[in-house]
């Protein structure tokens, strides 16, 4: 009798659990029953970014976007894909200051690493994507590299025509958007869906904060310098939290005569030399640094902020308040800051994405 009561209780408990479960199955995959792509977040401190209502990420859309991202069909001469300059092993950036476009032409901006992009959509500014803030959404950003002569040099009608003639793409577009007649909007929508899935959250520093591994004293000290308003003073723009950027545009004093930056878009003199604040994640994979790729190593970057910043009309107050002497970190402090910054590099993201790229 007793065992039957136990059995009944177990049965009831299971019934209760199953009948009340409202959440999607948590199995580490991105599958859901309704075809939507399930974004993976490590814990509740990661607040979901806004996803545009007219372009939710679906499994079919993400897969199509991934295929397009790696396909040189988007370039004028079928030689360059998005992934040619945004390489998975470099956290979807490039390891040269300026990447070669079609016909060997080069632009003037370093290929931005691509991860944790969509949180820019949580900011109220219309300037969200690219170094100079020219794109208001991920979808719109995609137009520029496809068409710029020093990047993929194609034109949108040609891209659509090539995809329409392709043996596989019309069916994939039908699967993703319910329409096998391809238009350029759906091309950008699919790539944007894929890019939203590039989420990096598993660096050693994250694991230290989750108490999965101990935090070395050197990293703890570096983290303190990063946060300090005195020593490192990094946290105003590369804010503490999960993202290590506030997605704002700032002139960090890189050059005495800065490239126009955000002013290219706004036409305002007070935006001269302002560029998007990049995340401090994955720096081990994203050298060289800055919008022009002019700083070769992470130590160069620390040394730059330590003693080589310039003040001009639009330089951020967080730089000017330390000038002309700079941060004046000791060698020990610089080493600790380096240790902290390196700990933010998520090899599971870079290697995992690279593995996926090779095997898909």
């Amino acid at each position: 009798m007793k065992s039957k009561v136990v059995k009944a209780s177990v049965f009831l408990a299971i019934l209760l659990m199953v009948s009340c479960s409202k959440d999607a199955k948590i199995d580490g995959s991105n599958n859901t029953n309704d075809g939507l792509y399930k974004f993976n977040f490590p814990d509740k401190t990661w607040e979901m970014f806004p996803v545009p209502t007219d372009n939710p990420s679906t499994l079919a859309g993400v897969e199509l976007g991934r295929k397009l991202f790696y396909d040189p069909i988007l370039s004028v001469d079928n030689t360059l894909a998005c992934a040619s300059c945004h390489k998975a092993q470099y956290s979807f950036g490039d390891n040269t200051a300026l990447s070669n476009g079609v016909s060997g032409l080069i632009g003037k901006r370093n290929a931005m690493p691509l991860f944790n992009l969509a949180w820019a959509d949580a900011t109220p500014s219309p300037h969200k994507y690219t170094w100079d803030g020219g794109a208001t959404s991920i979808e719109r950003q995609i137009i520029a590299p496809v068409t710029l002569p020093f990047e993929m040099g194609s034109n949108l009608d040609t891209v659509v025509a090539k995809l329409q003639r392709h043996p596989a793409y019309p069916a994939l577009f039908f699967k993703a958007f319910g329409n096998s007649v391809i238009d350029i909007n759906n091309v950008t929508y699919a790539i944007a869906q894929f890019e939203r899935t590039l989420i990096s959250y598993n660096s050693p520093f994250d694991r230290m904060m989750r108490k999965e591994i101990p935090m070395p004293q050197e990293v703890a000290n570096g983290y303190a310098h990063f946060q300090s308003g005195g020593a490192g003073d990094c946290g105003h723009c590369h804010i503490n939290g999960n993202l290590f950027t506030d997605y704002s545009f700032q002139n960090n004093g890189l050059s005495e005569q800065p490239d126009s930056g955000l002013a290219t878009i706004t036409g305002k003199s007070y935006d001269m030399g302002k560029f998007k604040v990049p995340s401090l994640r994955n720096l081990l994979f994203t050298a060289p640094y800055m919008h022009d790729g002019s700083l070769k190593t992470l130590l160069d970057v620390i040394e730059f902020y330590n003693a080589k910043t310039h003040t001009n009309a639009t330089t951020s107050e967080f730089i000017t308040k330390h000038n002309p002497l700079g941060l004046q970190l000791t060698a020990k402090q610089k080493g600790e800051l380096y240790a902290f910054l390196v700990s933010l590099s998520d090899s599971s993201f870079a290697i995992g994405s690279f593995w996926l790229a090779v095997h898909s």
């Binding site: 009948s19 607040e47 109220p124 804010i239 506030d246 107050e317 308040k321």
Partner: protein
Amino acid sequence: MKKIIIIILSSVFLFFGCGEKGAPPPSPAPAPTTLTIKINYTYKGQALVLNDKSYVNKALDTFTISNFVHYLSNVTVTNAQNEKYNLANYNLSYAEYPSTNTIELKGLKMDNWKSLSFLLGVDTVRNHTGAQTGDLSPSKSMYWNWNTGYIFVRFKGKLSNGNNIGLDVGGDDNLVAQSFDLSSYNLNKSNVTITLEMDLNEMFENPQTYDFKVDATSIHTNTQPEAAKIKANMVDICKIVSVQ
């Protein structure tokens, strides 16, 4: 027989297991009310122009303003019986982005509300609750990571001598409370819009003249004495323009 009992038990469990716990039976809902707070930013009574216009304060400093951001939280109304209703909102408003200058608060019961109050900042409890979500998310860049708590008010600009101004005011002691008498208005209606004027010149005078030649051009801790000075001045930064 036992099987039947189990099935009955299962049904009972299932029934109760999924019910909304403690939900009272639905009562007739009061008329839905939306209280809208709209903020107009000004400097000496004129509409604020960011970056492109020079302003002068009482100490005769000349500067442009590039950025003004603040929290507005805990909108509370009080009726004739002195009953208070706190809408428990936490909104971040940017002078630069008009969409953030209108705060719509729903769920307020219709009543002839006699007074309105709110905080320019974050109340002490939530200020020390750690990283939160929505407008209180650290990703909004208004979270002081080296000193727990939020930046309540951010003012950025540039002095005519080219020096940057960056004033971040926060800390429990620097929380600014605002309250207004509404007794002359009829608020017994379902949609009320209260338009406020927030005059940034008030940060720099009355009672204490803020002089950028002497006072800090950069405030980034809650303990800097200039933060308290700005807080004291901000007590009269808002006034009601209209109630409709």
